[in-house]
Amino acid sequence: MGKTLFQNMRRGVAMPFLWALPLLFLAVFFFYPLIAIFRLAVTAFLEQGLGADTLHEVLQPLEFTFWQAALSTLLTMAVGLPAAYVFGRYRFRGKNALRVITTLPFILPTVVVAASFNALLGPRGGLNLVLMNLFHLADPPVQILNSLAAILLVHVFYNTTIVIRTVGGAWEQMDPRLEQAARVLGASPARALWEVTLPLLRPSLLAAALLVFLFDFTSFGVILLLGGPRFATLEVDIYIQATQMLNLPLAGLLSAVQMTCTLGITLIAAAVSGKGLTPLAPRVQGEGVQPVRGWRSRVAVGAVVALLILLLVTPLAALVVRSVTRLDANRGERGQVQTGLTLEYYQELFINRRQSIFYVPPIIAARNSLIYAGATVMISLSLGFLTAHLLNRRSRMARLFDPLLMLPLGASAVTLGLGFVLVFNRPPFNAIGFPFLIPIVHSLVALPFVVRILQPALASIPISLRQAARVLGASSWQVWREVDFPIVSRAALVAAVFSFTISLGEFGATSFLARPEYPTLPIAIYRFLSQPGALNYGQALAMASVLLAICAISIWVLERVQWDTLSS
């Protein structure tokens, strides 16, 4: 009797109640802010009408956003495809290490990457210093920052990984016999590639290109920090209009345009992915992967490895080296300083230099970031477990909710930030309350990832495993301890690491919400980077190095629990 009541409660009453939690979370913190943006845009401009000026103000950044994203995507594919081929078809020493390195951009915050490229290519960066020393130049010869080239370069840095993962993975999984069959039937290597390999890779090529395009389209931090004032994408323009020009209606309109575009791209991506996929796995795992033999393979693999190291490792190395290098001060600024290694910039992180209320010592920013990240892990994991559990039930509700949940993936961080400002910038949330919103917006960004990691892990536990454990004499608690927990704990750890690093590095939404007295690490890096002076620059690099170290540790943890095998 009691049991039936309990079952009734679980099936009939508890389920809608459980659904209410994630639904409410999305409704309040995602859809409500987005609707507010649309309403703002519509009311403002339908009343006044869309003037030619306004139209111009929208079309110009839209055009630039599109074409820089298209250009970035093309370049990324051009770099990524040879790398995908090498990863998919060869095994060589150090391949695993290289694979780990290529995962770094997945979780590196934009400010860290921006700081890294600044430390490598900036006027005070490693490359320029070396060149100036070598050729006794008075001015830095490489002037790449604040140019389109810098934006494209960093986009390639970020997204090559996606091409390698998606296309390289598909390539590795493709039965090499198909290509061989074409060869035996009289196709030259080039013709076999064109007629067999590329058509079979098309779904993964399309998926990779669309994802890269989406990320380039919504890129914010990179363009703000490296593109300079001349290059405004929709994202950057929203930020500038909202925070500097205080033109909220225009920001809202730009946001609405941005959302429509990203939604469109996401829908295309969803429609394309999974279509035309045929099971092609090789008969023997890893059969298509060969050792490097002959000069042609050597050149191909060598070139790709060198290019990836140059692209991925040198900026990060420059960041770390530059953060511990003292130079002849910036035009004699802080008196006589000698060139050499120093930990000064790290020590300075703990000191409050200026006695200003708006100046916050960097260590406080680090503390804030850690608190927000901890809160984000707690919120996103509890919501994530609940949602993953509910989605695995395959109810009508689950089918309805599943695509909704993925929407925050496509929404831009800046748009979310703007929405939060519009909705919550009033009592009881305003000003004082904003710091509490930061972990919420971070959780919103992290939730799709967390759910996608937890859901398959939870679903992968066959009921027969639990039954077998029960029959073998395990109590229900022992079943959980011996069966469920060991299987899910790895996934939970991966999800936690992901949401932790997402929160630590999040910049777009946080830049709207962070109060001057409660900055996060990325905000602090941004501030220090945009101020003159060798000390500020050094401190920005030191903080970025600290974030980089945390990301490296995260990657190490992820590799230890083999999240690759987990996510597949």
Binding site: D175, R177, L178, Q180, A181, A182, R183, V184, L185, G186, A187, S188, P189, R191, A192, E195, V196, P199, L200, G276, T278, L280, R283
Partner: protein, 348 residues
């Protein structure tokens, strides 16, 4: 026509092929028979040019193939599990090799139809290959391989993935098709029944070398080594020593056996040297005093035309014989074996 000469190949540091040589004549079908991992697929891939031998030469009509890339050799290969292009229809798969020859469209179409007709799949032309059953896929792969009319056809365990009945049927069809086409063929398998069905000549591959070569009947009748005998399913072995040469007799733990040398060209053997005797399964019948074997019937399995009888001999070894009548299990049994069915091997 095809000449394979002294091919060497190592795989992950271990020798795989150690000086393999054989030839294929016009219109001939040979079967490469060997255990899995014996390098027979690798040999095919070396002939097609998909892999390089470390040593040795492949010649066609006297011309070395080494400098000719895979796609110019005009050899056909049917892959294990077919390797059909999943993004193309049945007809497009079959047309692939013809298109590579840059044949005019009308000719491609008529030859695709012809090839599909040969394998009874004309009605399937427009279907996606992913919607076919295993047997149908096998036929498409066959049609794709024969459509460009290659000068040599190769088959890499093409029936491996199919069930027994379908396998037998397709092997029969393949046999008549190969006879019709008259294209020389190399057929790789580890299944002796398939090999017997298809081969004009068998080549047994063992330890990286050609262990024996000959017609299916001659190889089965006189296996050159215990390995060949075992591989063909002959497992009744008995240790002994040479007793007399005229008549040829051996002393064993189960008595004296009269028999014949398995390999007529054996090196000289001294009286008293150790031997291994192979008792062929066709036992029972001849009432003679010698070549008698007795034991207890341990099992008797109905096999259609005969019974498979397991006999536990006095020394504890187990022998399997094919007998026309059922034998009661648990009862003692004594019978004779014709000297023709006893083959002597020198101890290996």
């Amino acid at each position: 026509m095809l000449e394979v000469q002294n091919i060497w190949k190592t795989y992950e540091g271990r020798p795989l092929l150690c000086g393999v040589s054989f030839t294929v004549a016009a219109g001939e079908t040979i079967c490469l028979l060997g255990a899995s991992g014996s390098g027979k697929s690798t040999l095919l891939r070396i002939i097609t040019g998909l892999e390089q031998a470390e040593q040795g030469v492949i010649r066609w009509d006297g011309q070395p193939m080494e400098a000719i890339p895979v796609h110019r050799r005009n050899f056909g290969l049917m892959f294990q599990e077919y390797a059909l292009f999943p993004h193309r229809s049945v007809a497009e798969n079959v047309a692939f090799g013809l298109r590579m020859k840059n044949l005019p469209r009308a000719q491609v179409e008529s030859r695709v139809r012809q090839a599909l007709d040969r394998v009874h799949l004309l009605a399937f032309a427009a279907r996606p290959v992913t919607a076919l059953s295993g047997g149908e896929q096998q036929r498409v792969a066959l049609a794709r391989a024969i459509a460009p009319e290659p000068r040599l056809l190769m088959f890499d365990e093409p029936l491996g993935a199919l069930d027994r009945a379908l396998k037998a049927q397709l092997a029969d069809e393949l046999r008549s098709l190969l006879h019709q086409l008259g294209i020389p063929a190399i057929y790789v398998t580890h299944d002796q029944e398939e090999a017997f069905t298809l081969a004009d000549r068998l080549i047994m591959l063992h330890d990286g070398q050609v262990g024996q070569e000959g017609s299916p009947q001659s190889v089965y009748q006189s296996p050159a080594s215990m390995w060949v005998a075992r591989f063909l399913g002959l497992n009744n072995f008995l240790s002994g020593a040479l007793l007399t040469e005229q008549p040829l007799c051996a002393q064993t733990a189960l008595g004296v056996f009269r028999g014949n040398w398995a390999n007529a060209a054996h090196p000289p053997v001294a009286v008293g040297s150790p031997l291994t005797l192979l008792l062929r399964p066709r036992g029972l019948g001849v009432d003679a005093v010698d070549n008698q074997i007795s034991g207890v019937v341990e099992d008797c399995i109905f096999q259609g035309e005969s019974f498979r009888v397991a006999l536990r001999a006095a020394d504890g070894s187990l022998f399997i014989f094919a007998m026309p009548q059922a034998q009661p299990v648990g009862q003692p049994l004594t019978f004779s074996i014709s000297a023709d069915d006893v083959q002597f091997f020198q101890k290996e």
